[in-house]
């Protein structure tokens, strides 16, 4: 079940709400069991993401460029602009929603499915999954039922099928597909490493989700081109 606060829970955890909104949301949570539960789930997701094993971050990613961006912003002459009329964002916006964070977490699980994950006892944790209805509804599903594992299996399966059917594709198509898959996989890996370095950044969470989704979509398409699933 969702209400007008559901999509703002991540902002709340991110300390991105105004003082009045924060007070109002805290008051709402006391009376709304769904939101309170969703908030707890979100807290668990964030905590789990923090528990990711540290990995060497690619050179260049270690450098925090935000101060430089901030400095550039300061260098831009500032003029006063009217306070914007705050209207609810369209329901289809793609960042900061609970469902997307949850789906991104699934992607993190998928892409980081190593012994490290299991050492942190992910098997007993509940995670959130985006509903088929388009992200508006939240459904708690046990990680052991593993949408992450299913997705991981699908990627492995698609790669296996694609490898078996390489000769069904003409060389130029195969080259195009392989180059693109390499590009997407590199983007997934970069997003994953970035998220490990900064697990609280909602942009990185959403970006990893998007890149992982693109990888799966491209693999499915490649298999279709090679003759479809059997």
């Amino acid at each position: 079940m969702t209400d007008r606060w559901t999509d703002r829970l991540s902002d709340y955890l991110d300390d991105a709400l105004s003082t009045s909104d924060r007070r109002e949301l805290e008051s709402h949570i006391r009376d709304c069991g769904d939101c309170a539960a969703a908030l707890e789930d979100l807290r668990a997701i964030v905590a789990s993401a923090r528990a990711l094993a540290a990995r060497d971050v690619e050179r260049g990613m270690e450098t925090d460029l935000w101060p430089e961006i901030e400095a550039r912003l300061r260098d831009i002459p500032v003029r006063a602009v009217p306070e914007p009329v705050r209207e609810p964002w369209p329901v289809h916006r793609l960042s900061f929603s609970m469902a997307q964070l949850a789906a991104a977490c699934v992607a993190v699980l998928l892409l980081s499915a190593t012994a490290v994950w299991f050492a942190h006892d992910w098997g007993r944790r509940e995670t959130l999954a985006r509903s088929a209805a388009g992200g508006g509804l939240i459904t708690a599903v046990p990680a052991t039922s593993a949408p992450a594992e299913a997705a991981q299996n699908e990627i492995a399966s698609l790669k296996r099928v694609l490898d078996e059917r390489r000769d069904r594709l003409d060389p130029s198509t195969l080259r195009a597909i392989e180059e693109s898959l390499a590009a997407v996989e590199a983007a997934v890996e970069q997003a994953r490493l970035a998220l490990e370095a900064d697990p609280d950044d909602p942009y990185l969470v959403a970006h990893l989700e998007e890149m992982a989704s693109r990888q799966l979509t491209l693999l499915r398409r490649a298999v279709d081109l090679a003759g479809g699933a059997e």
């Binding site: 991110d14 009217p82 195009a176 997407v184 970069q190 970035a194 609280d200 942009y203 990185l204 890149m211």
Partner: protein, 288 residues
């Protein structure tokens, strides 16, 4: 050859090379075009009929089939034969279009129905779409001119260039290419422009009412005019509003630079050469 056929009586037939066929269709019919390699060009007219002009090898066939409210135009060829077929279609403006290919360039002009384009190694060019347009290529560029309604573009290695837009909703994303957006930001409109490696360049008209949300991981941000940050979140994210801030504009680049430039001035980023050439060609072609 020019033949007129009643759609209702049509089941399936093939076109000879250099064929020119016109088929009557009833409102609500969807046109599906599948061409493995070559080009598909779709223009529109007010007649309730579909004209199909095809140029292809004698060894290949173009099937035309109707079933369940769908008119299918499909090229059958051996993928390893590396032969192209060029299909030029004139369709009713109301018609929903689904175009797919692999090594296929696709150009569509003036459709008011839903439009879906999927190709791998081919450019996608759309002018004047008014319905929901979902455009996808893997290795080449997507260019949209004068799109309205909803426009979704997705590439992996190509650019997404959208100009003279008047759309309510835009979602343009690529991984290795750049994204350019020029046009109107409609009240309560939503615009998401994103790249992983590439730059994102957005033109801002003089009278702009939008809230811009900028996010990057290791990229930069430039602006040709003053902005006043109203919300700097943790990490490398911030917001600012222009005018009444009603439209929502999300600008994201993982590693590239996000540019704001004044509408009517030069695009501040380097696009793939083909994007420039193609765009110029499109404007000349579509604005005739």
């Amino acid at each position: 050859m020019l033949a007129s056929l009643a759609f209702a009586a049509l089941t399936a037939f093939t076109l000879a090379s250099d064929a020119d066929t016109t088929i009557a269709v009833t409102p609500g019919t969807t046109l599906q075009v599948a061409n493995y390699a070559g080009s598909v060009v779709v223009e529109t007219w007010k007649r309730d009929a579909v004209r199909i002009e095809a140029t292809h090898s004698e060894e290949d066939k173009i099937w035309i089939r109707s079933m369940d409210g769908v008119l299918l135009v499909k090229t059958t060829t051996s993928p390893k034969a590396q032969r192209n077929a060029d299909i030029h279609i004139t369709a009713p403006t109301w018609m929903n279009l689904e175009v797919s290919g692999t090594h296929t360039d696709v150009a569509v002009e003036g459709t008011r129905g839903a439009l879906t384009v999927t190709t791998v190694s081919g450019d996608v060019e759309v002018a004047g779409s008014r319905g929901r347009a979902v455009l996808n290529t893997v290795n080449h560029d997507i260019r949209v001119i004068r799109g309205s309604g909803t426009v979704v573009t997705e590439s992996v290695n190509g650019d997404c260039v959208l100009r003279s837009m008047d759309a309510d909703t835009v979602d343009a994303s690529t991984i290795n290419g750049s994204v350019v957006f020029e046009g109107v930001y409609r009240p309560a409109g939503f615009y998401r422009l994103a790249s992983h490696h590439g730059d994102v360049a957005v033109a801002v008209p003089g009278a702009c009412n939008g809230t811009f949300a900028v996010a990057t991981f290791s990229g930069g941000f430039t602006s040709a005019f003053p902005v006043s940050v109203t919300g700097a979140n943790k990490g490398r994210r911030f917001q600012f509003a222009l005018g009444d801030g009603r439209a929502r504009i999300e600008l994201k680049s993982f590693q590239g630079t996000i540019h704001l430039y004044r509408a009517g001035t030069r695009i501040p980023i380097q696009l793939h050469p083909e994007s420039h050439e193609g765009l110029a060609r499109d404007i000349e072609h579509f604005d005739r």
